[in-house]
């Protein structure tokens, strides 16, 4: 996932924000009225207020659509809705403050960093709502439970997840006699040959979100399990993890440059748009931004949902979920709002330009909004079959989350890429992870 904001590379006559805003606005105008007419909220919420906190979406047009949706939903149901947007990295601090104060937003959003396990004692049990949505839309993906359930109860309602596929350059791969990459070995081979021609690849080795996702995708494809399915027992000290580290070292040496150690979430977007990258592993906002900033590169940029490793094909998604504080002053309206938004998933996905991948199986009926109409992105319509989340195959528990926020996995890959012995790195990394899990068990 990346900071996918405009004005990052070359200016164009139509700005990215302008394009996305126009697209989102058009979608919103066409379908919102029909959608809102479909459901009538209970009378008890009429005349109430609803304050909700949500992240600033990577696709600005989605925020435009969302704000319009919120206003029209509020008008229709007699609820005064106030929407606050905040960058996702600032959300955890905000929630800590709201929890300490016992006051804040009625409805809140966990973006990327899922705090359901940390706050569940103070969250409204929304099992009725989540199970109702599951029945209505063909059931939840198994991965949804990882982010929203604690001990079998739903304390959050999944909204969507961000998929992080491989974006590759067809022309460059063809120049070394290669076609669409199918495996991590293909990616490594292509990067090795193309680096010599001035087209290396890159995945972040730094302390940013993308580093956490990308290396885990490689790990899971190599068969690495972070924990057992309960999330209680660490499984990372394995032969598969050692193999993944070894492979990453080779891929770095052969196909990357040291700049990957400094990258932030947006660096790979720029790397692709600049025409240098042979391939990157990033969300489709990089694809959209390249469309606007470098059309020639965009023409040759294609998408692969994920490549395979010895342990299968797993893509690490970034989930986003809704949750309601127990101290919320308007729980009924908050639940109705989530229901209303879930019922408008098609419009939301269209407004996000195919970015918002649904958690409900029934919403994968082809053609999916936006993706189904795009020749290159259409491949992502089966993404639900290969998606896993941080902590896999265990749930996103508080210790799993702390392992993420302290960047232990990216640091393990960094140490090995820089020439550190694999066994020493394993000893350090596994030791740190064990220490975190032991602390959480003790508390």
């Amino acid at each position: 996932m990346s900071e996918r904001r405009p004005a990052e590379t070359h200016p164009t006559t139509l700005s990215r924000r302008g394009f996305l805003t126009t697209a989102g606005g058009a979608v919103a105008g066409l379908t919102l009225a029909d959608m809102l007419a479909a459901r009538q909220a209970p009378a008890q919420i009429k005349g109430t207020n609803l304050r909700l906190l949500i992240w600033s979406h990577y696709v600005p047009a989605y925020d435009v659509w969302f704000d319009k949706f919120a206003k029209e939903w509020g008008d229709k149901n007699g609820v005064k809705v106030r929407v606050d947007h905040m960058p996702h990295l600032e959300l955890p601090a905000r929630y800590a403050a709201e929890f300490a104060a016992g006051a804040g937003h009625d409805l809140m959003y966990y973006a990327g960093q899922i705090l359901t396990g940390q706050y569940y004692r103070n969250l409204v049990d929304v099992s009725d709502l989540a199970e109702g949505l599951g029945k209505k839309y063909g059931g939840w993906l198994d991965a949804a439970k990882s982010a929203a359930q604690v001990s079998g109860q739903w304390y959050a309602v999944p909204d969507f997840f961000i998929s992080i596929p491989v974006l590759w350059r067809k022309d460059l791969f063809a120049s070394v006699g290669m076609g669409e990459p199918k495996t991590w070995e293909d990616l490594r081979k292509a990067a090795g040959q193309l680096k010599a021609k001035g087209h290396p690849t890159g995945m972040q080795f730094s302390h940013c979100n993308d580093a956490n996702h990308n290396w885990r995708a490689l790990m899971y494809c190599y068969g690495v399990k972070e924990t057992d399915p309960t999330g209680q027992n660490i499984m990372i000290d394995s032969k598969e993890m050692r193999e993944a580290l070894k492979f990453a070292k080779a891929m770095y040496d052969e196909g990357m440059t040291p700049e990957v150690f400094s990258w932030d979430d947006a660096s790979d977007n720029r790397f692709l748009a600049s025409g240098v990258a042979s391939w990157i592993h990033d969300a489709i906002s990089a694809f959209h931004s390249t469309r606007l900033t470098n059309p020639k590169v965009f023409e040759q940029t294609f998408v692969v949902p994920e490549v395979a490793g010895p342990g299968g094909t797993w893509n690490v998604g970034e989930p986003n979920v809704w949750a309601i504080w127990k101290f919320s002053k308007n729980v009924p309206a908050a639940k109705e709002f989530i229901q209303g938004l879930a019922d408008s998933q098609k419009d939301a996905m269209q407004a996000s330009l195919g970015y918002n991948m649904p958690f409900l199986r029934g919403q994968y009926t082809k053609p999916m909004p936006y993706l189904g109409n795009d020749a290159k992105l259409g491949k992502l319509q089966d993404q639900e079959k290969i998606t896993a989340f941080l902590g896999f195959p265990g749930p996103m528990t508080p210790p799993a989350q702390e392992v993420v926020t302290t960047f232990i996995i990216p640091d393990m890959f960094t140490r090995v890429a820089r020439g550190g012995p694999i066994e020493d790195t394993m000893k350090w990394g596994v030791g740190e992870i064990r220490r975190i899990y032991a602390k959480h068990k003790a508390s």
Binding site: P92, A93, Y95, A96, F99, Q113, L115, Q118, Y119, Y120, R121, N122, G198, P200, F205, S206, H207, C208, A211, T257, P258, E259, V260, F261, S262, W263, D264, S267, R270, F271, S274, V276, P398, Q401, E402, T405, T406, F407, P410, D411, T414, R415, R418, W428, G431, E432, R435, K439, H440, A442, S443
Partner: protein, 326 residues
């Protein structure tokens, strides 16, 4: 205010042992000395209250958190004694953070001192447009930190760094992709230097302004007398100027040390402690553990390790300052 007049009544704290019993006590409160005490403490009370509420309470709360298993989502925390401190000491990254924090604080402090002093002397000289230059120089200090740091992030970008492009055009380094192309935020030594550099860039105008205020308070006739006596520039600086502006220097240094040691924003925005802990400092480690990771107790314990680092420095500075005052 702190001394009773000779032969007068004892200070309020010892009134319970005063001879004379109730009559003496009652009458003492009506004396001018008592009224003076009362007046003095009344004037002092807002400051004590202010410090107590804004410094004492948060500090006590940090101590409470650090000795509990508090998490961001747990309303009830158990007392765990020094477990969180022990946990920090068992964490290998913690030692890296301590080392980086010291290097960052001391290195940035020295650089800011040298640059600030040089700048202050330059700004003391009369030249055309001096007022404008003085105003421009405080811009780094007054800019919102997020804005200025993001500007630096672009300048340190691995691909589009304006610094690298300038160096490359001057043929001092090779082109993009060459082995000598610096990756400012990616190479461990360079990354720590870069975050320190931004701190220095942002802070040295403050040092210069503080010094300038001190320098302008030195009477010119004292410096002229030293000159007449044959003192060189360095002798005048060491033997005349520094002793005279020492109180300002010490206060400025104390402020700067506190601000630098607890500076989270620059590192958080530029590298978030990466790569592989190369720029990890105690504030980023505490934030990522306590707030983002949710382990409030352990985060608080890590942040409290700043206290023993800071306390000796501040005590030393303030004691030196007090000695010089007497």
């Amino acid at each position: 205010m702190t001394q009773a007049s000779p032969g007068g009544p004892p200070p309020p704290g010892s009134i319970s042992v005063a001879i004379g019993g109730r009559v003496r006590d009652t009458s003492w409160w009506r004396t001018p000395t008592a009224r003076r005490y009362l007046f003095g403490y009344t004037l002092l009370a807002p400051a004590v209250l202010y410090v107590g509420l804004l410094v004492g309470v948060p500090f006590a709360f940090s101590l409470y958190l650090a000795m509990s298993d508090a998490s961001v989502g747990s309303p009830v925390a158990r007392f765990v004694g020094i477990e969180n401190f022990k946990s920090a000491l068992e964490n290998a990254v913690f030692y890296t953070a301590v080392r980086n924090t010291l290097v960052f604080t001391i290195g940035a402090g020295i650089l800011k001192g040298v640059l600030g002093t040089t700048l202050a002397f330059l700004l003391l000289q009369p030249f055309k447009g001096r007022k404008v230059v003085r105003a421009l120089l405080v811009i780094p200090f007054t800019l919102p930190i997020a804005v200025s740091v993001l500007g630096w992030k672009w300048m340190f970008d691995s691909q589009f760094s304006v610094i690298n492009w300038a160096l490359s055009r001057l043929s001092l380094i090779g082109g993009y992709g060459s082995p000598d192309w610096p990756v400012w935020l990616g190479q461990p030594g360079l990354a720590l230097f870069s975050v320190m550099f931004v701190n220095v860039w942002r802070g040295f105008p403050f040092s210069a302004i503080v010094l300038l205020a001190g320098l302008t308070s030195v009477p010119p006739e004292v410096l002229d007398a030293a000159k007449v006596d044959g003192a060189s520039f360095m002798q005048r600086f060491r033997k005349v100027i520094v002793p005279m502006i020492a109180p300002i220097l010490f206060i400025g240094s104390a402020f700067d040390t506190v601000f630098t040691l607890s500076d989270l924003s620059i590192v958080y925005l530029l590298t978030n402690g990466g790569p592989d802990g190369a720029t990890e400092i105690l504030p980023t480690l505490a934030y990522n553990t306590g707030i983002r990771g949710g382990a409030l107790g352990r985060g608080a314990a890590i942040s409290l390790f700043l206290f023993p680092l800071l306390l000796p420095a501040i005590v030393l500075l303030l004691r030196t300052l007090r000695r010089r005052q007497y």
